[in-house]
Symmetry: C2
Subunit: 487 residues, 2 copies
């Protein structure tokens, strides 16, 4: 029987005995927890990692493994792209969202080359190859991709477009490969790993300092003392329907929750119970992938009134957000016979017709509305222009090869992936902050249980969460190792 | 010097002496606090109300005073409208938003007639007159109005349209008049009122029970013991820019914050510090009033691409939300010479031209886009139809009397009022709940410091906040008075 975690911390005075004692206790062994453990151990601390699953990995192990690096990595240079921390910063401040933490953005860009080396030194390989295609899950071993809105409007006019998504050199989903290296790194750092050990609540001293964790290890309840600090790296809350309803109800429309069962918000709630603030809780990344094939980006995305509402070639975090917010969850991608291909998300065909008129009728769009939209689109696409939404010229071409098909991109009829981007309020260096902005002593956090680097789905780029979690997990681990012991 | 409040509760053991002692301590003397105090006192409790301003009133005193009542009030009946708790419920579950608390909606509808009588017995007068016009701030003494989306699409097809906004019988803004009655009611109930007394932090016993408040009364810091309970009725957080940035960043676009200086979130933060959860924090009501004159509802609202995106006759909470979310904050209301009038919010004219073509050019809308939209609108309006957004026939008429004017409804160029709809997680009966759903013992809350009845701006109706705050303030007061004393 799983025992539920509780947000209410246990008073240290109520702990009968400490079953384990370490300097730094890391909760969760995904990429954030692994990075924190490695750095804390390398800084000389005695570290334990508590992982609730049988083995670490977290959501990263389920992902493509694409990680956001830049500033001029060897891979970027080998592929012929010039990048600099300044160019990266110009883009990343947009990608991180309007409520980005400028300190985080700055540190991430300044430290990106070192961060890339850190992964390579852990043994993660990257090939010096560029994948010149819009894909969401690259199957091959090519490394570099435009993984966000770098080359889409309006970002392409505001920051020099450079690809920064780096996929490890493995076919298919490479997140497991990347996490193997991190788990190996944790082991080699000397940190102790306790699997099948689920944190249930924090332990707090009378002065408010977090001094340990109560956990369930297999059938046994244990108290784990943290002489210096606890680092929460427990993931987001997309698997907790009640929390999503409370904090990000619009995400309930999405039918495919991206994460592990551990992404139940337990760390966020434990942190809140100890006095931490949870912020940015309404934001998430929403993913409806109507490409590949990238020919679909030459299609026309319309709402139920046949109106366009976004540049179709934007990163899918933006187009999917627009389907939810601007089109009220109901949208169709119109393609012609030459553009059509099966998507990896198996979009259903809402209609296939020989003319725009027939398609409009089949989709029950008000008479004339879709026809006008497509005629106008075709006219300007023929000139290589998109005055309404500024789709890039490479994706502009009139729809002219019947039959015309409408892929159903509605929330009710297609796959909408989703994960959360809100969590504990945390300094870039990992200290968990309360509603008044004061740190909760002894408590650190990183990864998706925090409001981290990426704050908005509509500006997101693939690789930012793994990048954020590992980069700021490392900082949190280093800082936690330096905190003066409390006893 | 104002002393800042802090979310961290003070341990009861650290209180040197209690300066005041009462059974129920109500924090804030707006409509929620007044209602709570009156009911707690009537239930026999010894009550004190702490008000930070020189006098009570809260945001309600600054408002029109329109309150949402239904189910067949004498006013509705006198004006020839049939209503029932069931009809009211059918509408209110929509108006409360997708994440509405069904228990709250049910109680509110079942209790609405009694709730209306309660206000009349306090001395608030309402005239048996119906104002058959779309207005946001009725100037006269007419009472009844369609104050939300009751008669707009799609609600009008889902619930029988009945007006339920009740304005007290005073010219101009009647909220002050309504609050005078509530303040008088508080005084007559026997509750003690301490003005210029600002709550700074809660006092919590070792077992977690909230047992008092530390406050600053003029220059003096005092400890106020709550033998039974504390009721937070401190208002929302729209005046706290930092909190808005953390929890509802999109509301920062709005330039006119609706509330009093007290709406700084202090009660929400104090409640969080004592273990309460804050939910629905990303939601707010946004108000860009391009009417009256109601002739403007016959205009056409377009985005920067000349596309329509909402039925113009919806409640302004919905149209304004659509300007933000669907039009990215940039929109124009196009009217012709016969429809044009000065709005009360003094919208600027972005352009006035003799033809649609010239207007499109003046607004820098891509060539042909606005012209097409207006031509299509005119064609269907001439038939009394709006196939795209289902505006009501009474507001459908072709734009045909040049010159044509575009009122600038952009966030950067017009007034966007805003207040918050998120706050403490609270049972309908007032108990503040923690992240795990357990009540924080001794702590109650009502009004805009809670996530209450209305959860979404885009479904909102005028009168719901005063209605919510007073109705559930009363419940919280009654419940607080019943809690067993702790010492």
């Amino acid at each position: 029987m799983a025992e539920a975690s509780t947000s209410r911390p246990l008073a240290a005075s109520s702990v009968p005995r400490w079953d384990l004692e370490h300097e730094v206790v890391v909760v969760g062994h995904g990429v954030a927890g692994g990075a924190a453990a490695i750095e804390a151990a390398r800084a000389g601390a005695d570290v334990v990692v508590l992982e609730r699953m049988t083995r670490g990995g977290g959501a990263t192990a389920l992902s493509t493994g694409i990680t956001y690096f830049g500033g001029g990595t060897e891979i970027q240079t080998a592929c012929g792209f010039r990048d600099s921390p300044e160019d990266m910063h110009a883009y990343l401040r947009l990608a991180a969202g309007e409520q980005a933490d400028p300190e985080r953005v700055r540190l991430y860009c300044e430290g990106s080359l070192e961060h890339f080396r850190w992964f390579r030194e852990l043994g993660v390989e990257f090939n010096p190859t560029f994948l010149d295609d819009k894909v969401t899950h690259p199957f091959g071993t090519e490394c570099l991709t435009f993984s966000g809105n770098e080359d889409a409007w309006p970002e392409r006019e505001l920051a020099r477009p450079v690809p920064r998504g780096h996929k490890p050199a493995r076919e298919g989903e490479a997140g497991g490969y990347l996490m193997e290296a991190v788990l190996r790194g944790t082991a080699e750092s000397g940190a102790r790993v306790v699997n099948e050990c689920r944190a249930l609540r924090l332990v707090q001293a009378a002065d408010g300092r977090v001094v340990g964790v109560v956990a369930r290890r297999e059938r046994e309840r244990i108290a784990v003392k943290a002489r210096r600090a606890v680092v929460l790296a427990t993931g987001g809350f997309i698997m907790n329907r009640e929390m999503v309803a409370k904090h990000a109800p619009h995400l309930l429309q999405c039918n495919y929750r991206v994460g592990t069962p551990g992404d139940d918000g337990s760390g966020i709630r434990m942190g809140m119970g100890a006095g931490g603030d949870a912020i940015n809780m309404g934001e998430g990344l929403v993913l409806n992938a109507y490409y590949p094939p990238s020919s679909h980006l030459k299609g026309v995305l319309v709402d139920r009134n046949g109106q366009r509402f976004v540049n179709e070639d934007a990163y899918l975090g933006r187009t999917s957000d627009a389907i939810l917010r601007k089109a009220d969850g109901r949208a169709f991608l119109v393609v012609d016979d030459e553009l059509y291909g099966q998507t990896q998300a198996f979009h259903k065909l809402a209609a296939v017709e020989e003319s725009f008129e027939a398609l409009e009728k089949a989709l029950a769009i008000p008479a004339g509305a879709l026809v006008r939209t497509l005629e106008v689109y075709n006219e300007s696409a023929a000139r290589g222009e998109d005055p309404l939404f500024h789709k890039a010229p490479r994706y502009l071409r009139p729809l002219s090869a019947p039959p015309f098909a409408a892929l159903d991109c509605s929330t009710s009829n297609s796959i909408f992936g989703v994960f959360t981007l809100g969590g504990l309020s945390v300094r870039a260096t990992g200290e968990v902050l309360g509603p008044d902005g004061d740190p909760v002593p002894g408590l650190y956090a990183a990864g998706r249980c925090t409001a981290g680097l990426p704050r908005e789905g509509r500006s997101y780029a693939s690789g930012l969460s793994i990048g954020d979690a590992s980069f700021f997990g490392r900082l949190a681990g280093r800082r936690a190792a330096q905190l003066a012991p409390w006893d």
